[in-house]
């Protein structure tokens, strides 16, 4: 088997999976919109022209054609799928612009908030997990482990409004709304970082507990290594894999969270686009956003999958060691724990 062949055999199924996720997302949204009662074109027209007006049949037909909503269901499905393959997400019912244009215009704003939120959330939870593992006081360790449910339970709109009232109105440090100045990204990102960090922390701390219970940590402690050394060298590295897997989950969460956060902070972005599309009953824009989110999610899943061999030498092709099944990115981390709970520690075992 040549190198290229091996690489292809590894990559091809993941690429196929990527294509499937995008196709299935399109199919699910298409079915949702068509199976539920209500005509999206009529609904969008009714919002635009007020409720009392009668609809001109010609205008209706023209709009239907423009939105790709004419013909039988199967024709619509295939025509839109064909367009999707060429990167065309259809035309907005409310504005007449192409959905791709509308989304591309607002992506950078959302990306800045979501990216910063991911960084803040992950860094904070790594620090907290470190403290929760090595803090000398039991009460602090117990307290820290109790935090995640709280981070998830506080709705983002409440966190956001409290942050605005404290940092913008009381202290006057950061802008409450808009997206013009650079520091306007901070408060929305912090708002999103709470639930994201909480989810990551939960996955991370579970992986750490799993690693701590293993034989190689016992050995390391028996050798006389300090707590911090054991944590940094043995526990952390083995807890990495399931945690990386959860990033895919977090991306979905971030994408959903932008709708609320961007409304609270009056920022331009994907979430705001969706909210105004719902107001205008503009189904094609929402469908486009969902597909774009699925593409991003599937891309992240693909990258995470491909990064496993880099993170964990046991997963590299050609190693003779019994190969544990790579966890699917779709599964939430606890299922992936089998990998880290194996009793050998090849990353560090060889170095000693």
């Amino acid at each position: 088997m040549t190198r290229a062949g091996t690489a292809l055999r590894l990559v091809a199924p993941k690429v196929l999976q990527f294509a499937f996720v995008v196709w299935a997302t399109y199919t699910v949204t298409f079915l949702l919109v068509r199976v539920l009662p209500g005509d999206p074109v009529l609904a969008a027209l009714a919002v635009q022209s007020g409720d009392a007006t009668t609809v001109d049949p010609e205008q209706l037909a023209a709009l239907r054609e423009q939105a790709g909503l004419d013909g039988s269901l199967l024709e619509q499905y295939l025509a839109q799928l064909g367009a999707l393959l060429t990167g065309d997400l259809g035309t907005s019912l409310a504005t007449g612009r192409t959905v791709v244009d509308m989304i591309a215009g607002v992506v950078p704003g959302s990306l800045a908030v979501a990216g910063l939120a991911l960084v803040i959330g992950v860094l904070t939870s790594v620090v907290l997990a470190f403290l929760a593992s090595i803090a000398p006081w039991r009460w602090l360790r117990d307290l820290l482990v109790q935090l995640p449910p709280l981070g998830v339970a506080v709705p983002a709109f409440v966190t956001g409004l409290i942050l605005i009232s404290v940092f913008s109105f009381s202290l006057g440090l950061l802008p409450a709304s808009g997206s013009r100045s650079g520091d306007s990204v901070i408060l929305p990102a912090v708002t999103l970082a709470f639930p994201v960090g909480a989810i990551f922390f939960q996955v991370f701390i579970t992986a750490i507990r799993e690693a701590e219970a293993s034989g190689y940590v016992f050995t390391a402690e028996a050798k006389g290594l300090g707590r911090a050394a054991v944590f940094g060298r043995h526990v952390l590295r083995n807890a990495l894999l399931p945690s990386v897997t959860s990033i895919g989950l977090l991306i979905g969460y971030l994408a959903g969270g932008t709708a609320v956060v961007e409304t609270v902070f009056s920022r331009e972005g994907i979430g705001r686009l969706v909210v105004s599309a719902v107001l205008a009953r503009d189904v094609s824009v929402i469908q486009g956003v969902i597909i774009v989110v699925a593409v991003v999610y599937a891309l992240a899943a693909l990258l995470v999958d491909l990064s496993y061999p880099l993170i964990d030498p046991r997963l590299r092709p050609g190693k003779a060691a019994p190969k544990p099944a790579a966890p699917s990115t779709f599964s939430i981390a606890p299922e992936a724990d089998a990998l880290t709970s194996s009793t050998t520690d090849p990353q560090n075992g060889a170095a000693k």
């Binding site: 499937f20 996720v21 299935a24 997302t25 199919t27 699910v28 949204t29 949702l32 919109v33 539920l36 009662p37 209500g38 999206p40 609904a43 449910p149 709280l150 998830v152 339970a153 506080v154 709705p155 983002a156 709109f157 409440v158 409004l161 409290i162 605005i164 009232s165 109105f169 895919g248 979905g252 969460y253 994408a255 959903g256 969270g257 709708a259 609320v260 409304t263 609270v264 969706v274 909210v275 599309a277 719902v278 107001l279 009953r281 503009d282 189904v283 929402i286 469908q287 956003v289 969902i290 989110v293 699925a294 999610y297 599937a298 779709f330």
Partner: protein, 269 residues
């Protein structure tokens, strides 16, 4: 049993009971009218007379929160019901079909379930709301469909687990018909993790429903609902913190209590 007596669990049970009373008999806790305001008393801070203060129309916020419980909790419960029924049925059928006639069907359906889990629930809910029209019940349907994927996955896993147990094999050997085995042996034994999941999803659903109401797609203005109460307080955030913080705190409390109970249901065996 001792697990039920832990203080956090007791408090959680108390909060849930309080929620039930708020939803079905709000007059017992807040006898006032949630829609009637005294313009003279507008934007009063919390006091003994107005526990949560008053809003811009002089309406008592506490009364509005208590009376808003019905819509918020009913929509969230309906969402979990829809998600549980749809997802549970899919998971049950996939789990039962696998290995007999439907391994291929199971594979394809479960990949669709993966997608349903991957797409952010709030976006799915919003596309349903945009198609069906605004209101708490279309929100419930949207949030429920978003939750269906998780139910399908856990139900299928449970069915597959229970199917391998000896008593199920014994029943099949004794000649109990497949549907009988499914209903009498597999379903009851697979129920607990699904119930724990339902409780967990109830917390998530309360959050999703209130978030979508906050965005303005829920109930029409005068009627109280938790998410729209917070939204209404948004314009006064600089001066009247109680309009957003106190209804928000109620949401947090309810979600925490429900999540706590979900964990208790999940771990007590």
């Amino acid at each position: 049993m001792t697990k039920l007596l832990r203080p956090t669990t007791l408090v959680s049970i108390l909060v849930v009971l309080l929620c039930v009373v708020m939803a079905f008999a709000p007059q017992l806790i807040a006898p006032g009218d949630p829609l009637a305001g005294t313009p003279r008393d507008r934007l009063l801070p919390p006091s003994a007379e107005h526990l949560f203060g008053t809003d811009s129309l002089g309406r008592d916020v506490f009364t509005r929160v208590v009376h808003g419980a019905w819509l918020s909790l009913a929509a969230a419960t309906l969402a979990v019901g829809i998600g549980g029924l749809v997802g549970g049925a899919i998971g049950l059928l996939c789990g039962a079909a696998r290995g007999r006639v439907g391994t291929a069907i199971d594979f394809v359906v479960m990949r669709f379930v993966d997608v349903l889990i991957a797409v952010p629930g709030i976006l799915l809910a919003l596309i349903v709301v945009a198609t069906l029209g605004f209101g708490p019940w279309s929100i419930a349907l949207g949030v429920g469909l978003g939750a269906a994927g998780s139910f399908a996955r856990i139900m299928r896993a449970q069915v597959l687990r229970v199917r391998g147990e000896e008593y199920v094999e014994a029943a099949a050997v004794l000649g109990v018909r497949p549907l009988g085995v499914l209903g009498r042996h597999i379903l009851p034994n697979a129920a607990r993790p699904v119930l724990a999941m339902a409780a967990l999803e109830l917390g998530t659903a309360v959050l999703s429903v209130s978030a979508i109401s906050f965005l303005g797609f829920g109930v029409a203005p005068p009627a109280p609902e938790w998410g729209s109460l917070v939204s209404a307080g948004r314009d006064y955030i600089a001066t009247s913190w109680w309009l957003t913080v106190l209804p928000g705190a109620v949401i947090v409390g309810v979600v925490l209590a429900v999540t706590r109970l979900a964990r208790v249901i999940g771990e007590s065996r």
